[in-house]
C-alpha cells in the first residue's frame, strides 16, 4: 500500500517501488538541477562541473524521497543528515537545497561571490541546509561517524548519509574512519560513493587504482551495495536495503558518469574543475531543454 505524500514530513509507510509519476517528476527535477548547476557555475566563472553533475540523481532521491527533513527548519533535531564529503560538488547540493526552499534560488547567481551565501566549497556557517563545511577531501566520513555516534547517544532514530568522491577514497583518513564505523557498529550511517572513475590528473585507475573497491570496503567490515547512480529506482532500492542492515555501516557504490547530462562533458576528466563559458553553457542548456 503506497502513499503519495511529501517525503518532507514525518515517516509514513512507503512502497519500495517508485511510481512512474515519481520517476517522471524526479527526472524533471534533475533536468532543472542540471540547468541550475551549469548556470550558476558559468555565472561564477569557476567551480567543479563534472563531479556536481554526477551526483544529481543521488541528491534527488535523498532529498525528495528518502530523507526526513524540513527546509523551513534546517536545524530540526530529528532530521536525517547529509554530509557532502566531496565538498567541491557544492553546486549540486546548492541546486537541490535552493529549489527545496532552504534559501532563495536568487542566491544561485551569487555563487562564489562576495556578499553571496554560496561558498566555493560547502560552508555550514553561511548556507542553510549544509550540515558541515568540507572541501579538503577525506574529512567528511570521520565527521559523519561522530555525528552518527551523537545521534545514537541522544537516542535520535535518524540516519546519517555521507557522499564520498572516488579520488577522495585514496585518502588515508577515509580508511581510519572506515575502521571506526565498523568498530562502533554504526548502522545509522550510510555512505554513498560517487564512482565516476575520474579525478583530476586522470582516471582513478590511472592515478591510483582502488580496485578491488567493493572488496576493500567489505574487508573493513562494511556492508557493500551497488547501484546505478543515475537510476532513481536503483538508488532508492539501495537506500532502503541499507536501512535493513544492522550492526555494521553500509556503503552504496554508485556507478555514475562524471559530467552526466551534457554530451560533451560526460566521461571527461577536463570537466572536473572548470566551469562552462557562455557558449558552452548555451550548448549545454540546449541539450537539457531539448531533452524529454
Amino acid at each position: 500500500m503506497k502513499a503519495e505524500v511529501s517525503p518532507l514530513t514525518d515517516k509514513v509507510e512507503r512502497s519500495p517501488r517508485l511510481t512512474p509519476q515519481e520517476v517522471a517528476r524526479f527526472r524533471e527535477i534533475a533536468r532543472v538541477a542540471r540547468v541550475d548547476i551549469l548556470t550558476m557555475l558559468c555565472g561564477a566563472g569557476s567551480g567543479h562541473t563534472g563531479g556536481s553533475l554526477s551526483i544529481v540523481e543521488l541528491l534527488i532521491v535523498l532529498f525528495y524521497k528518502k530523507m526526513r527533513h524540513r527546509p523551513v527548519q534546517p536545524d530540526w533535531p530529528d532530521r536525517d543528515k547529509l554530509i557532502l564529503s566531496k565538498g567541491h560538488a557544492a553546486p549540486a547540493l546548492y541546486a537541490v537545497l535552493g529549489r527545496l526552499g532552504y534559501f532563495p534560488a536568487e542566491e544561485f547567481c551569487r555563487l562564489r561571490k562576495v556578499g553571496g551565501i554560496l561558498q566555493g566549497h560547502v560552508d555550514c556557517l553561511t548556507t542553510p541546509g549544509v550540515e558541515t563545511s568540507t572541501g579538503s577531501l577525506g574529512q567528511g566520513l570521520s565527521q559523519a561517524n561522530g555525528l552518527a555516534l551523537a545521534e545514537r547517544l541522544s537516542g535520535r532514530p535518524t540516519k546519517v548519509y555521507v557522499i564520498l568522491g572516488d579520488g577522495e577514497v585514496e585518502a588515508g583518513q577515509i580508511w581510519e574512519a572506515a575502521m571506526t564505523a565498523h568498530h562502533y557498529r554504526l548502522d545509522n550511517l550510510c555512505a554513498l560513493l560517487d564512482w565516476n572513475n575520474y579525478q583530476i590528473d586522470g582516471s582513478v585507475d590511472f592515478v591510483k587504482s582502488l580496485s578491488p573497491l567493493n572488496e576493500k570496503w567489505a574487508s573493513f567490515g562494511w556492508h557493500v551495495l551497488k547501484c546505478d547512480g543515475h537510476d532513481f529506482q536503483s538508488i532508492y532500492s539501495a537506500l532502503l536495503e541499507a536501512d535493513e542492515v544492522k550492526g555494521k555501516p553500509t556503503i552504496i557504490i554508485a556507478r555514475t558518469i562524471k559530467g552526466k547530462g551534457v554530451s560533451f562533458m560526460e566521461h571527461r576528466v577536463e570537466w572536473h574543475g572548470i566551469a562552462p563559458n557562455a557558449e558552452e553553457l548555451e550548448r549545454a542548456l540546449a541539450e537539457l531543454r531539448g531533452g524529454a
Binding site: P77, D123, C124, L125, E131, T132, S133, T134, G135, S136, G138, Q139, G140, L141, S142, Q143, A144, N145, G146, L147, A148, L149, A150, E151, L153, S154, G172, Q173, E176, A177, M179, T180, Y184
Partner: protein
C-alpha cells in the same frame, strides 16, 4: 596537572551528559581513561589515528555533544593540524583539544614526542582559544572554563607534576592573565611550568640584585591579555617572556607582536631556540635548554640594562 584535568573532566561529565571524551590510544597517559571508565558510552578511543580523532570529535560536536579530545601535544596538533583547521575551526565546532605532554619535560622519550610547536600551530588558527595553565589548581579551573566556553579550544598541559603556583583553585577567566607579583624594573610574562620558574627568578633578582621584577601568568595565550602586557610595559619598560616552547610563534611571539605595534621596549623571548629536543630527565632538560630561573634572571638583567 593532567591528574587535575582527568578528575575535573569526570566532575563535569557527571553534571552534563553532553560531555564526551576521546583519545587516540593514550587514554591512561592523558587521564581521560577515568572518564572512560565512569562513562563508557561517552568515551571513544580512535586508536592511532589522530586525523580521524579530530574529525570524529567534530561530528560529535555537530550532533550537540561537547567533546574533550586528549592525546600528546605533538600528535594532537601536528598530524591533524589540517583537520583542526577545516573540521573544527572553519566549522566553528565546540571541540576542546586538551593535550598533555606539551614541551620539553616529556623527557626521555625524546624529540619526536617533545612538542615545541603546538602553541604556534594553534595560535595561528582563527576562532581558536589557546590556554596554558600554570599548575594543577589552575588546570582544574581552566577545564571548567573551557567546558563552559562555546567554540574551539586548545589547552596544553605538561607531562609531569608541576610545582604549585596557586594555593587553591583560582577563578579562571579566559583571556585574563594573573598578576602574581608586582614589579617596577621589569616584568616576566610566562605560561605553564615557566610561571613557577619566573617567580623563582623574580625572588632571586630581588635577593641578589635588588631588582623589583613583576610576574604575569599569561594562561590564555589566545586571545592574549593585551591590556596587561601594555600596563606592564608602561610601568616597567622591560619585558622577558618564558615558555616551554619554541621562541618562534608561541607566547613570546604573541607578546612581541603586541609590544612591537603598541609599545616597543627592550624584550627577550625565553624558550627553545629553534631546535628540536633531546632525551633526558625533565629537570636536566629544562636547565639544558635555558628554561630555568638562572637563565630567566640573566635575561632580565640584560633587558633592564637596555632600558
Amino acid at each position: 596537572m593532567r591528574d587535575a584535568y582527568g578528575r575535573t573532566l569526570v566532575e563535569l561529565g557527571e553534571a552534563n551528559e553532553d560531555i564526551v571524551a576521546l583519545s587516540a590510544d593514550l587514554s591512561e597517559s592523558t587521564r581521560v581513561a577515568e572518564f572512560g571508565k565512569r562513562f563508557p558510552d561517552r568515551f571513544f578511543n580512535l586508536g592511532v589515528a589522530e586525523q580521524d580523532l579530530i574529525g570524529t570529535a567534530s561530528g560529535l560536536a555537530l550532533g550537540g555533544k561537547i567533546p574533550f579530545v586528549s592525546t600528546f601535544a605533538i600528535f594532537a596538533t601536528g598530524r591533524p593540524w589540517e583537520q583542526i583547521r577545516q573540521s573544527v575551526c572553519l566549522c566553528n565546532r565546540n571541540v576542546k583539544i586538551v593535550a598533555t605532554h606539551g614541551g620539553i619535560t616529556v623527557g626521555e622519550d625524546g624529540a619526536s614526542h617533545q612538542s615545541l610547536e603546538d602553541i604556534a600551530l594553534m595560535r595561528v588558527l582563527p576562532r581558536m582559544t589557546v590556554i596554558v595553565p600554570a599548575d594543577a589548581a589552575e588546570t582544574a579551573a581552566a577545564t571548567r572554563a573551557v567546558a563552559s566556553h562555546v567554540g574551539p579550544v586548545y589547552m596544553r598541559l605538561p607531562r609531569g607534576k608541576s610545582p604549585a603556583v596557586f594555593a587553591k583553585e583560582p577563578r579562571f577567566e579566559i583571556g585574563k592573565s594573573t598578576l602574581l607579583r608586582g614589579g617596577r624594573d621589569a616584568t616576566v610574562i610566562a605560561a605553564g611550568l615557566m610561571v613557577h620558574e619566573a617567580m623563582e627568578a623574580a625572588a632571586l633578582l630581588e635577593r641578589e640584585d635588588g631588582l623589583q621584577v613583576g610576574v604575569i601568568n599569561m594562561a590564555t595565550v589566545k586571545p592574549i591579555d593585551v591590556d596587561a602586557i601594555l600596563m606592564a610595559a608602561s610601568r616597567c619598560g622591560a619585558i622577558v617572556t618564558a615558555e616551554e616552547h619554541s621562541v618562534i610563534g608561541g607566547l613570546g611571539s604573541a607578546v612581541a607582536e603586541v609590544l612591537g605595534e603598541n609599545f616597543p621596549i627592550p624584550m627577550k623571548r625565553i624558550g627553545v631556540e629553534d631546535r628540536f629536543g633531546i632525551s633526558g630527565r625533565p629537570e636536566e632538560l629544562l636547565k639544558h635548554f635555558g628554561l630555568w630561573r638562572d637563565n630567566i634572571a640573566r635575561w632580565v638583567r640584560d633587558v633592564v640594562k637596555r632600558k
